[in-house]
Assembly symmetry: C2
Homo-oligomer: 274 residues x 2
């Protein structure tokens, strides 16, 4: 985590030569406790006490992180479907599951493998599941929740996340999970997917992701994609996705231009504060 | 968290007066970025770059802490008995509980109020409950687990901890929970109680806590109590608890004397390394 940046401190001989033409040339250089380089008043950082205090603070923060990690490990639920877990529902039937989720990707979907879960977990993770199950709706009585428009793998990953707060993401999986997280109001998972997708954002997928973020109301992703697009307006209109978007949902294209305009105004305002 | 210690840096005029009788009196003092005090070579800490790097590290650690706290908040289960939770089992029946725990403090104990829980939670938090429930023993079939030698309040706090990793401790509660944590092998709770009890350790409760730690195999607490006792051997034999312990469990008293002896040897070895 800690990057070595001290190597960029100018070497001693330079400091000396500079010191010649330097008002405070009498200055005594001091040795940095951390990087062991000499430094002059110009590069002065902290006194010894503040250095030691900062070290203490860092140690305290690291201890807090260890405690929190232990807490997470304790609270993590052993998922009834986690393949890595030695108590996976397959190898070890009794997981006391009282409900199953079924991915119905297509209308038929009868063949889909059910994913075992616990009402108590679903209820504590998702207000949508809570309303569904506590109000004894059909799903609660039948013991089966149908989840539409989702692959079996995504559903497994979704349920697994509800138990462990962990998911192994690629861009496709992140999109599928974000849709589920939005639908069932699992904020923590939505933020997790959004963060991942923003990190994968580039010019080639920006328009597609902009539309996706809009559709599933992913604010951070939307802003990130929008600023990337408005930085490359000259190239925008040539893109296929752009033309498709004009066809499919021109309002979104309008919003791009509006964002571009206000950005120009801001830049102008900066350049000429009068 | 960050204690202000820079105020202890000697005031400027002192530094000056000292500088008089100082070999490197020509030295230019520098200003600490953090505490804004001037300092000389003697108190040199870090250069600017290392100071900035340390700040970045601190920010990164704080971000990590925020992420972990959010993860804990997500993973925390809404306890079926947490009185603060708006979905408390009392105010809102359907918690999908599939088992109850009963505190049987005395032989009769029939009157005790059952504490609702979920097999899936008990199994994921305690290897003892796992063996008990997965092997379909009596408790699993009857749907009732009798917990001996524990108060109703302690049992509630115990179950609540299994769901939330939180407990409100006083010394008595910490002892009751430590006993349960040891009995059902809930390591995280045991460490939590031990840490609390060590923080409350003092000369008056040291002998009692030493015996308690011994009985329930709380290593950290044992060591802390033992070193406190061996630091006050002169006062030990006058204590009532000491005489009681000699009666009840002389082996423990022997261990105190053995610890005292080896401590003396170490001190001697330090004083005279020959």
């Amino acid at each position: 985590m800690r990057r070595r940046r001290c190597t960029s401190v100018r070497p001693q001989y330079q400091t000396d030569t500079e010191s010649e033409s330097d008002p405070d040339s009498t200055e005594e250089t001091m040795r940095c406790i951390s990087c062991q380089e000499d430094y002059g008043a110009r590069d002065a950082g902290t006194c010894k006490e503040c250095y030691e205090e900062a070290n203490e603070t860092e140690e305290e923060l690291k201890r807090e992180i260890e405690d929190l990690k232990a807490k997470v490990a304790f609270l993590k639920f052993w998922s009834p479907i986690d393949p890595h877990h030695h108590h996976s529902s397959r190898s070890h039937p009794p997981c006391f599951s009282d409900i199953v989720l079924v991915a119905s990707e297509d209308a038929t979907g009868g063949s889909a493998v059910p994913v075992p879960a616990h009402k108590a977990v679903l209820v504590s993770r998702s207000p949508v599941f809570r309303a569904m199950l506590e109000n004894e709706m059909e799903e609660s009585l039948s013991g089966t929740i149908k989840i539409g428009d989702v692959s079996y793998d995504a559903l497994r990953a979704f349920v697994n996340y509800l138990y462990t707060a962990e998911a192994c993401l690629d861009e496709h999986m992140a999109c599928e999970l974000l849709v589920l997280a939005e639908k069932y109001q699992v904020k923590h998972l939505k933020a997790y997917c959004e963060k991942f997708l923003v990190s994968k954002l580039n010019w080639d997928n920006s328009v597609m992701n902009y539309a996706f973020a809009h559709q599933h109301n992913a604010k951070h992703m939307l802003d990130a994609a929008l600023s990337l697009i408005t930085d490359n307006m000259d190239k925008l209109t040539k893109r296929e996705e752009y033309m498709e978007l004009v066809e499919k949902d021109p309002r979104l294209v309008v919003e791009i231009y509006e964002a571009y305009l206000s950005k120009q105004d801001n830049t102008a305002a900066h350049k000429d504060p009068s």
